[in-house]
Every structure is written in structure tokens, then in C-alpha cells.
Symmetry: C2
Subunit: 344 residues, 2 copies
DNA sequence: GTGAAAGCGCTAACAA
DNA sequence: TTGTTAGCGCTTTCAC
């Protein structure tokens, strides 16, 4: 049950290992007949070149590492799928790692993946500092950063325009006449979350209002986190008639919390999410949300990484994807400020 | 920017590569002082052993490949997360690959992963034949199969008792007095799907009924697939008052289709899903479903694989997880507070 | 067009 | 306790 090596093929075909190598990699001079013959032996012996050995000498493994906070979040799952599909098409394999937004874990994992010889890395590195990721990129191979911006020659940038997307959502809520607009936030050190929050505050301010601190409720970016945050929010601030969620998962949790609190959506409280995961459209009520194509984000990240690996040292411009508000049932009702508050 | 090698460390510490190796792997005899000194150099140079090179000689890479139909399905995402968490704790990294239930793709990917030197493989290999997987296992290293059963010395088995779970669901529907019980099925060659279908037919038969062919509607195991299948079903068979879905995704689609068709759930049509993804409990109405812990499935699969890698040649008994019916709003027979929440 | 030699970075086996 | 030698399976370089 020992694996077949190039040596075995060489012997069986009566040629040198070199010739076998030339045959399977179709490079270098080799006569058609020899190639045919070698390939036939390869076939019959079921020879598959050892990628580790190839990697040792070529310094290329055709593997890529991707780090996400949590593959269980549909947004990341779609992203990984996008990256995976592109990778597979180009003969690459993906190492997946979950960091739970812990920068130490992320850094450790990325670093391990480098030891495994990955040709490149895709990461969001949420909660980590620019300095950390920059220092990391100083020493290691191509990295594509998703949804954050760090200037560095080895770092490719693929981002969704989260700020503009969030502005659209809050702008809409203001225009609909809501005065008590809450936000469900996932507090992370620096990035996506702060951009959403920034957009929220900026937009309110532009309309002559200030964000009431009590209306910003924090929680984990999960169904449960959104559910609980909304419960706290509705209890503490019954005046709230609109909720802008950090992501769709939290917003779906919010929908349920509203229902359990006896607040009809959208009549008594409207909800807008962020991401537009496939479930958003299937919910009842269907969830209005800021569409942000995570599958495409993953695809683009992988494509950019491929470009970077192809041309080491080249400089690539950032890729930015637009986000846009999608209105569905969770915001359908045109509601005014005199709507009654729940009294439970 | 060349990577630091063991040679660099050896030179800097004034010892041989061997000694460095002994220091970092804490095996073999080495004096405490030497070790300290070497480790200090390792630290200061930022040396990280090349896993490929280690793998070449030890024939162990500390990587594992996992194949799923589609990481975008929360059931699989949870499973992968379970496997990942266990893997990480044991210093292993995970290759992820999606097969879309295509056995040729799955086989190709698994085979590629073997070329990458993975120490083991976790797969569902849906739609593939026992012979294919068995033939594959003949040549390659430990494999753990999830949710299917193939007798083979190299194959570890981790399954959920899908049949019993499905029986519980259908049994419940029959007991509730439903006479027109439909099933949303995902037609795949051999496995999980047939077990659900088998359970459905057996249970009806046990109660003196036969499964009406028109009541078995097929579709993709996705939200959209479930939505469309249910639309077709309700149009063709308006007499149906209960739907047993292949998985939660299809069932969530069914919920929405019922609503769009003006069929109140559970009053006019009840729905039971399969899997119990986190969303099931958060839906409105919350989805009754057969709980099948995919996270644990993934954990157990990884643990079993670890066992098998530890003890090559040993024989391990299959691991079976129970499934059990969880009743929620989508099958609730008495509605107390429901009406209060319904849209005006 | 083909083969022989060298070596990628590491560890196993043995020698000192 | 430490160093030396050999080699994992492959590709690169350079003979022929």
C-alpha cells in the first residue's frame, strides 16, 4: 500500500524520473512517443505526484488559506464558497480556519498556514490592528484583506462599501419619519462595525439629530445575540420604532424578539438588516436589508490573490463592491411617529 | 525575505540542525541548557519549521481534508465547525472542499487532497456508490464517513439515526390526524434521502396507508428548492395538510410558500423539517423539526479520525447519534397567543 | 530529446 | 548529549 512514486513510473516506463516529470508537467522537450508511453504508465499505475515534494522544490503548493470569524455565519459561508469555487477552477485547494474574531487566534492560524506553505492568504482579520496585519505581511506572502483597508505592498484589498450601504439604510428610516432609530451593533475593535456605526451617527447628525446612546445596543453577531440585544433594547427603550441591525443574523433575531415582545413588524417596529443572506428574502416577514454580495466578495478576493501570486511585486488597486438597500416586508408599512408603543 | 530555516537557527546557536530539531520537537536527549539556548534563537529569528519538509520525512502533515456538499448549507457549516474546533485543538488544519453532491467531483477532490498529503479524510460522499468509496479507501489513508455506512477496515463511521428521526416526524403527523401527509424529498442516489423516504413510506404503511406518489415532491435541498417544490405541491395537491421536509432549508422555503399561497401554518398546513439548524427556532412560526446535531457529528467525525490516525490498523465501532423530534409552532395544534400577533 | 546530479527543509538512524 | 549521514519525492540545472 506504499504510494506510487515517480521512481516507480520511471522504472516501469524504462526512462528516468526526469522524463516522467517532463511528461506529466508538459514542459521541457520530450518526444510525443515517449510522453504517450510515460502517460500510459502513469495511468496504469495510478500515479499522482506528491504535492509536498513538488512544493518543496517549486515553493508553490497550490494551496490558499482563508480565515473567517465563523463559517457558521451564512455571510462567511457564502464568501468561502465564492473563494472556493474560483480556487477549484484554478486547481487550488483551500485551508479554512475560524477565528471567532479573536485576532490572536487569527494571527496564529495564518502563521500556521504559512508553515504549511500556502501560496497566499485571504483574511478579514477583524478586531486586529493595522499594525499587526502589516507586520505580518512584512514577512509573508500575498495576502488579500476583505472588508478592511491597510496600505501595504503585499496586501490586496477587496471591500464592500459598507459605509454607503449603512447610510442608505439609516437615511431610509429617517425619511420614513422614524425618530427613534436604534442600532444593533457588534462591538469590534476597529472595522466593519465602526463603519456601520459611523454611518448611523453621521446620517442622524446630517438630519439634525444625535444618536441616543441607549439606542445603540450591543451583542454578538448571531441570531441569539440579536434576539437578546433586541429584548434589552425594547425593554429599556420602548419608544424605538426602527432597528438597524449589524447583520442579517442579528436582525432575524430582532424580528423574533419583536414578535415575542408583541411588537408587530413592520407596523409597530421596522427592521433593516445587513448582508442579504438568502434567508432574508424567505423570512416572514421578509427582511429588508443592505445587500452585500458575499459570494462575489469571496470570488473577487480569490481572483485578486491569484493575480498577486501570478505577478509578485506588482501593485494592484483595491476592489470595491457597492452595497445597496433592498426593501422588503420588514419595512413595508409607512409609519409615523404617533404610532402607539407596546405596553407589556 | 527568505524564510528562516533550521539551518539558520543551527548556525546562529552554534549547534547542528539535529539539535535544533530536538529542541523544538522536545524529543530525543538534549541538555536543558542547550535547549533553552536554541529555543531563544528560534524565538529571536522567528523560526517556524516548514511543515512540508517535516511532512516529507515524517509522512504526517497534520492536515485533514473534509468534503461537504455545500458549505452554504447551515447543516454542513455547523458540521465543519465542529470538526474544525476539534482539529484546531489537536493542532490540525482543515482542507475544505465542496462537491455539490457530485460524486465525481468529490472523488477528484479527495484524491487531490491525498496528493497534498492529508493525514485523513472526512466525507459524506453523497450520491456516490459504496464501491467507489470502498475502492478509494483501499488505496488511501483513514477515512471517516458521515451519515452513510460502508464496511471497510480503513473507514470510520459516524452517523445520525436519520431513519428513526424521520419515523418520529411522520408518526407524529399521523397521530395528529393528518391524512394527506406530503414529503419534500431531495432525490439522491442512495443515502440520507432514501432513508427519510423509506421511513415516510414505512410509517404510513404501518398505519395502513400507502404513500401517494403525488405527495412526494422533489427539489433541491435549498430554501429556493423547498419553496418551489411546495408551490408545485400545493397547486397539484391542495388536499395536503402536512408537509415533512427533507431538511430545514427546504422546510423554511415551504413555510414561505405556504404563506404566499395563503395557507396558514400551522392552522391549515403543518410543517416539520429535518436537522434543527439554529434558524429553525428563530423562524416565525418557529419550525418543528427533527433535531440532528451536526456540530456534534462534525466533532465526533474528527475525533474518530484522530483515533484512527493514532492507531493505524485498529478497528473501531461505528458511532451513532440519535435524532429526536422537536415540536415548535409550525405544528402547534392549539393557538393561544398566535392571533394577537397576526398582521392586521 | 534524455539522463545524472544536486538539493528544497526537515528528521530517522546511527556514530561519536 | 551531540553531530553526521542519508533520504522523504520531486524539479532544476546542466551534461550528453
Amino acid at each position: 500500500m506504499r504510494r506510487v512514486t515517480i521512481e516507480d513510473v520511471a522504472r516501469a516506463a524504462g526512462v528516468s524520473r526526469q522524463t516522467v516529470s517532463r511528461a506529466i508537467n508538459q514542459k521541457g522537450d520530450i518526444s510525443p512517443e515517449t510522453r504517450e508511453r510515460v502517460l500510459a504508465v502513469v495511468q496504469s499505475l495510478g500515479f499522482r505526484p506528491n504535492r509536498l515534494a513538488q512544493g518543496m522544490v517549486t515553493q508553490r503548493t497550490h494551496t490558499v488559506g482563508i480565515e473567517v470569524a465563523d463559517i457558521t455565519n451564512p455571510f462567511f459561508a457564502e464568501m468561502v464558497r465564492g473563494a472556493q469555487d474560483v480556487a477549484a477552477k484554478h486547481g487550488y485547494h483551500l485551508f479554512l480556519t475560524n477565528s471567532d474574531d479573536n485576532p490572536a487566534v487569527a494571527l496564529q492560524s495564518l502563521s500556521n498556514l504559512v508553515s504549511h506553505g500556502v501560496d497566499g492568504l485571504i483574511t478579514m482579520f477583524a478586531n486586529g490592528t493595522d499594525e499587526e496585519i502589516s507586520a505580518f505581511a512584512d514577512q509573508y506572502r500575498p495576502i488579500v484583506l476583505i472588508n478592511r483597508t491597510v496600505e501595504h505592498p503585499h496586501i490586496g484589498l477587496v471591500t464592500a462599501d459598507i459605509y454607503q450601504g449603512a447610510v442608505q439604510a439609516v437615511e431610509y428610516l429617517v425619511r420614513q419619519g422614524h425618530t427613534a432609530i436604534a442600532m444593533l451593533n457588534h462591538p469590534s475593535l476597529l472595522h466593519g462595525s465602526s463603519r456601520r456605526l459611523q454611518a448611523y451617527c453621521d446620517t442622524l447628525q446630517r438630519h439634525g439629530r444625535t444618536a441616543h446612546p441607549d439606542w445603540i445596543e450591543e451583542g454578538e453577531p448571531t441570531l441569539q445575540g440579536g434576539y437578546e440585544a433586541t429584548q434589552r433594547l425594547l425593554t429599556a427603550c420602548p419608544e424605538v420604532t426602527a432597528i438597524f441591525g449589524y447583520n442579517d443574523l442579528m436582525s432575524l433575531g430582532a424580528l423574533r424578539a419583536c414578535r415575542d415582545a408583541g411588537r408587530a413588524v413592520p407596523q409597530e417596529c421596522v427592521v433593516i438588516g445587513f448582508d442579504d443572506i438568502p434567508l432574508a428574502a424567505m423570512m416572514t416577514p421578509s427582511l429588508s436589508t443592505v445587500h452585500c454580495d458575499s459570494y462575489v466578495l469571496g470570488q473577487q478576493a480569490m481572483l485578486r490573490l491569484l493575480d498577486m501570486m501570478e505577478a509578485p511585486g506588482a501593485v494592484f488597486s483595491p476592489i470595491e463592491l457597492a452595497c445597496n438597500l433592498i426593501l422588503r416586508e420588514s419595512t413595508k408599512s409607512h409609519h409615523t411617529s404617533e404610532s402607539r408603543y407596546s405596553t407589556h
